[in-house]
Every structure is written in C-alpha cells, then in structure tokens.
C-alpha cells in the first residue's frame, strides 16, 4: 500500500501529504460516478444498487481481506441495518441522513456481536460459526414478522428529501447522487483507515495472529473492534438499500447475499479496498448484462467465468491488473 501511496502522490502534487491519496480517491470515485451518470442516465437504479452492495463487499473486505476472518454471514449485518432503517423510517425518522446514522449504528452493533462470536475461532470452525450466525439471524428475521414483514418484506416507508431539498425521483437521480457522495466519503475514510496503525495491526493479525500476540497485541478485542467498523460500513450499505428501494426483504439477510459478496470480493481481490470495489462493480454489471441478454443460461456463463478467473487471475482481478500494470511500466522503463 505504501508503494501505491507514493506513486499516486507523484501524480497529485500541492496537496498536504497526509490526505493526498484519499483526496485523489474521493475525486476519482466522484468523477467515475459522474461519468456513469452521463453515460448511463437511465440505468441509475442499477448503479445505485451496485453502490449499496459495494458497501457490503467493502465491509467484508475489512474483516476478510484485512483481518483474515473468513465469513459467510456478513449479510446478517447488512440486512439488520436495513431493517433498522426501515423501522426507523416507519416510526417517523424520515430524514435520509439521520436514517444513514441509524444504519451505521445498527450495523456497528451487529458487527460487534458478529465479531464476538465469529472472531473467537479460526479456520473451519470460524466459517461454520459465521454460517450458523447468518442463518440464525435469517430465521429470526422470518419469525419476527412484526419488525420485518416476514417473507412479504418490510414495505410502505418513504424517506423525505435529502437535506430537505432533493426529493427521491423516478429516474433515481437523488438516490444515485446521495449514494455516490456517501461512497466517495466512506471510501476515502477507509483508504485512510487501512493505512492507520489499527488497520496495519489487523493486517498483521491476518498474517500471523500469534506473532501479533507476541508483540503485545490483544488479538481478539481488536478483531471485535474491526468487526464493529466493518459492521458500520455494512450498515451504510443496508441503510442506502432501504432508503433507495423502500422495501427490505429476507434476501438482504440471506446466505445467498453473503456468499455473493464473498464471490465479488474474491473476484476483485481480497485485501485491497479498490479490489472490493472493482469486484462488486464488475460482478454486478456482468451479472446484469448476462442476466438481461441470456437469463436462461446465466448460471452456466457466470459459473464458467468464475472458474476461468480462478485459473488465470487467482489473486483477484485487481491484483492481476496491478501486476500487469507494473510489468508494463517496467517494460517501458527498460526500453
């Protein structure tokens, strides 16, 4: 990561050193978003949905890619946050920014609970606990229909205008703009966060938890805190999903959602925030494209593609891309 920091810094002078990378990232995300807006003005709903899921993938990257906790229960956090936001909205808190706050708090709390349960273990028991935890939450969500609407979904809530000005519209412009700004801000913060002492320590724990203990780190509490942060990020996604869609269903807490997020993360490249973003965007756009041109065979096509990726880009597309770029650069230098 340090290396990336320095290369980017060269391209963006005049900014104070400690925010260069993050400001660049903020600008790039915003610019990409605006391009998306201009090129696909009628696909904003799709782009908005991609952003909400991207938060889930980012949150998974924090615990899985950066702290080494492999989980198939991350959607539980995303979904509970979405339900919390839906209920808050029904209870009269309709301001989207406030609702975002509700989602973050609910997500962080769920994250802490997941962390306490899941990061206690390692390897296979960890994976199984994460699955069992996710399934328990899903079973409860089905059961507690007065808060979740059960299988019919929680519907009938409508957030008010963003900042009191921007009404949610059918083209999805407000949804998209709101989500994009939140993504740019959160991504910039996260880029900073993973470079921080805490973020670096989590990467250390991922590499070798015993070694981390042997330099005096209390591993378990740190993983729980990391889960809290990750939960907050997932909560942002859940909140955006609830705010933009106006319905929260069992799908948002399901195993399928968790598994899909993990696939997106691995496709993109675990351990890189940008890998998570790329993975999420590419997988969903690919899925949408294949799904609308050839819905009957999309599983075959997606499955085949995943196999090809593991054969030719086993570290994820982001890493493959990064190393290809490095090779390209090297070959230019040597000429």
């Amino acid at each position: 990561m340090t290396a990336i920091g320095t290369t980017t810094a060269a391209g963006a002078p005049r900014l104070p050193g400690w925010v260069r990378y993050e400001v660049t990232a903020f600008a790039v995300v915003t610019a990409l978003g605006l391009i998306g807006y201009l090129v696909f003005p009628f696909d904003l709903a799709l782009l908005t949905r991609i952003i909400a899921v991207t938060f889930l993938v980012l949150s998974l990257d924090l615990v899985t890619g950066y702290a080494g906790v492999v989980t198939l229960g991350q959607a539980a956090i995303f979904g509970v946050a979405a339900y919390a936001v839906g209920n808050a909205c029904l209870a009269g808190i309709t301001d989207p920014v406030m609702l975002l706050g509700v989602g973050i708090i609910a997500g962080a709390l769920m994250g802490l609970v997941s962390g306490v349960l899941i990061s206690r273990f390692s390897a296979l028991p960890q994976l199984v606990i994460s699955i069992a935890f996710g399934q328990l939450v899903a079973a409860l969500a089905n059961k507690l229909a007065q808060f979740t609407g059960g299988s019919d979904g929680l519907a009938g809530f409508a957030p008010s205008a963003v900042l009191g000005v921007f009404e949610f519209d059918i083209f999805g412009r407000t949804s998209f703009g709101f989500s994009l700004v939140v993504l740019a801000v959160v991504l910039a913060l996260l880029l900073r966060f993973v470079q921080s002492p805490f973020g670096l320590m989590c990467r250390g724990i991922r590499d070798d938890a015993l070694r981390a203990r042997m330099i005096g780190t209390a591993v378990y509490p740190r993983l729980i805190v990391m889960y809290g942060v990750s939960g907050a990020v997932a909560g942002v996604g859940g909140a955006l999903s609830a705010i933009n869609v106006g319905v929260v269903s069992l799908h948002s807490v399901s195993f399928e959602m968790s598994a899909e997020a993990l696939v997106m993360l691995v496709v993109g490249g675990a351990g890189h925030l940008l890998g998570a973003v790329f993975g999420s965007i590419l997988f969903q756009i690919f899925g949408h494209f294949v799904g609308s041109t050839n819905p009957f065979h999309w599983m075959t096509i997606v499955g085949g593609t995943l196999i090809l990726i593991t054969l030719f880009a086993p570290k994820g597309l982001y890493s493959a891309f990064a190393s290809a770029m490095a090779k390209f650069r090297k070959s230019r230098v040597s000429q």
Partner: protein
C-alpha cells in the same frame, strides 16, 4: 456547468417526448427467468407468447413489444432497479409479471410517478393491490383458493383438521384463511404446524400430526422439491394408510410435479383456480397455442394462464388509451371487465382490481400415461376473500 445541465435536460426531454411519438408500445415483464423458480418465469413468457400468437402483435396501429427481465429470487432491491430501468430507459408503458410478493411491493411506488400500470401475474399476497391504484392482478390469492378448501373439508365430513403450511407469508395466509373459514363452520383445528420453508425432511412433522388425532391434513407449500418430499412423507409414515385425508391448495400438486410424485399421489385433493386438464374450448385453444410457442406439455403451470389473461388486459388497456400513456383511463377500462379464460369465466373486481374466478376442487388422477388434476366440483366466482371482508 451550464452545458452539463443542458445535456441532462435534453436527455430527459427526449425520454419524455419520444414516448408520445412511439408507435411501438413496450411492456416490461419481470419474472424469475433463472433460479429455482425459472419454470414459472418461463411460463410467463409462454403465456404471453401464446396470446400474441393468437391475437397478433399489434393493437390498432400500435405494435406491442414485450421485454423480459429476470427477478430470480425475492430481492426487492433488484426488482425495483429492473422496474425503474424498464420505465425510464426502455420507456415501457406497462409493467407485468412479478412472481414474488416483495418484488411487486418494491415496484408499486414507482407506478404513479412513472404513469405505468402493473399487471401482477403471480404475487399472491392480498394487500398488493392496495399498494397502488395502478395495480391489477390476474393470478390468485391464498385466501381465494383456500376458503373453498375449508368448505370441502367440512363437506367431506372432517371434524379435526391439522394445518401444516410453509412458514412464510403465503403459508400464513393459507393457514389463517383455512382456520377462519373452517372454525366458522364449526370445525376444529387440532394442530397448526408452520414448517421451515427450506426443509425437505417431514418425518417428525408427520408424527406430530398423527399424534394430534387429526382426521384431515390441510397443507400449503410452494411448488418445488419440498412438496414432493411432503407427499412422500405423508404416505411413507403411514398416514395415508391410516385413512387421514390430505387436502391442499393446487400449489402442492402443480402438473409439472405430478410425474415425480407418481402413483402415490393419486387421490390427493386440492382446490385451485386452474387445472391444465380443464375441459373447455378456451383451454384447448390455449394449450394448442402454448404448444406452438414451444411450451412442453408437461411444464404448463398456472402462471402461463395468468400471463395469457394479463396480456389480454394489456391489449384492452392499449386499445382504450389508443396507445397514449394514460394509466387512469387504462385501469378504468379493465375494471369490471369479464371474459372466458382458459381457467373458466373470470372478471376483474372493480373495487379491488383483483380477478374474480372459479375455484375448483380437483383430485389427482391418471389419464392414460399422464397424471392430471381432475376437476370434481366448482366454487363459482370467488372473490379475494382476504380483501372481501
């Protein structure tokens, strides 16, 4: 900044203006084209294709084009994005389909804003039609099909019924509908089992039912592998041999599942709004048309009929509005409309915008080599009992 605004303005304006000039009217159909429920999405398509095959692809001077999108699973976020895309990008004048209730719910708030009516072709929770005045439904509701089942139970002399339903919205609707109706007629419900949606191991549940002393089971499970396992468990655990009767909604014995259930299923009673074997000239013509569009005989389901009738409504709405985007006129035109559907005589209830139709008692039987649901009794012009009260 100015030029950016102009570009956007132009884009939006072109979107709005071109609708008025369109001579092709687009209809967006959202259905499960992939995933475990793909058969039902496929039936949406066959049903619509069958209608087009019989009635052509034009209404007046207007060409009608159906665009299919995949909802895959109950995922409202995805469905809302699809509906939004269909409205703003593909500029459809009508939406149709929606197999799953949450997905229909997600699309509902868009309809008024987009001035687009939605013809629900499956999602069976009663309250959907209340979510927007621009929703009309051509399928069924759990209440609609279940209330007659309770009457059947009473008629055949059942006193003690055990209710076993899948533990989710439609299951709860079926349970409540049966219980309310049956108890009102003086029957007793001795056991209520909410079965986990994912389970295929029904041994313990059969044992529980047996222990309750019920003489009849009423059940609802969504079509798929669990229904097969349920029927098997009913037979293998000796309940059938003990003379405990099995009564269900037609979802448990959809025609594509019958061969898998096999001989063991003979005699299972169900109430439903459509049997593929329904004996009428309309149904014969419908099945013929289905064949011409590629539907395999063993794979026709109720969603094909709902889609076929849904396409009829959409053609009616296009004619009433002369191709203009006017959802109020369109919806007004189909309220109270009645016709002879392949399932029998039907009409659109002007109050609820839900379809009023016959519900039939059927019995699994064998006709030559094919298993069929043989209609034995008719409950005429059933409304959605879930909204009727």
């Amino acid at each position: 900044m100015h030029s950016l605004g102009r570009i956007l303005g132009a884009l939006v304006a072109s979107a709005v203006v071109s609708v008025a000039h369109a001579d092709t009217i687009k209809v967006g159909v959202i259905g499960p084209m992939s995933g475990p429920y793909a058969l039902f999405g496929q039936n949406f398509k066959w049903g619509i294709d069958a209608w087009v095959a019989e009635n052509g692809d034009t209404v007046g001077d207007h060409k009608v084009e159906f665009i299919f999108r995949d909802e895959e699973s109950p995922d409202p976020a995805k469905s809302k994005a699809l509906a939004q895309e269909l409205i703003v990008k593909d500029r459809v004048q009508y939406l149709a389909g929606t197999y799953f209730t949450p997905n229909a719910m997600a699309a509902a708030p868009l309809l008024a804003q987009g001035k687009v009516p939605l013809v629900v072709m499956n999602a069976a929770t009663s309250s959907i039609v209340e979510k927007s005045p621009y929703i009309v439904r051509t399928s069924f509701t759990m209440w609609q099909n279940t209330v007659p089942a309770a009457k059947v139970a009473k008629d055949m002399g059942s006193d003690k019924v055990a209710i076993a339903v899948s533990d989710y919205g439609p299951g709860h609707d079926a349970r409540d509908a049966f219980k309310a109706t049956f108890e009102e007629m003086g029957g007793e419900v001795v056991e209520e089992v909410n079965m986990p949606l994912s389970t295929t191991d029904f041994g313990p549940i059969m044992q529980r039912i047996k222990d309750s002393g019920a003489d009849t089971i009423f059940t609802f499970l969504p079509s798929g592998p669990p229904t097969l396992a349920f029927v098997k468990a009913y037979i293998d655990n000796g309940l059938k041999a003990d003379g405990i009767k099995l009564l269900s909604t037609g979802d448990v014995v959809t025609e594509p599942d019958l061969p898998a259930i096999g001989e063991a299923g003979l005699g299972i009673l169900s109430t439903y709004h459509y049997a593929v074997s329904h004996d009428s000239p309309e149904n014969a013509a419908f099945l013929e048309a289905m064949k011409t569009v590629g539907a395999k005989p063993g794979e026709v389901t109720m969603t094909a009929v709902a889609a076929y009738d849904g396409a009829r409504l959409i053609y009616e709405m296009i004619e009433a509005t002369d191709g203009k985007q006017d959802p109020d006129t369109a919806i007004e035109a189909v309220k109270g409309m009645s016709w002879a559907s392949p399932r029998g005589p039907v009409s659109i209830d002007p109050q609820t915008r839900h379809i009023k139709q016959n519900v039939y008692l059927r019995e699994v039987a064998k006709e030559g080599d094919t298993f069929i649901n043989k209609e034995t009794q008719t409950f005429e012009a059933q409304p959605d009992w879930g909204l009727a009260e």
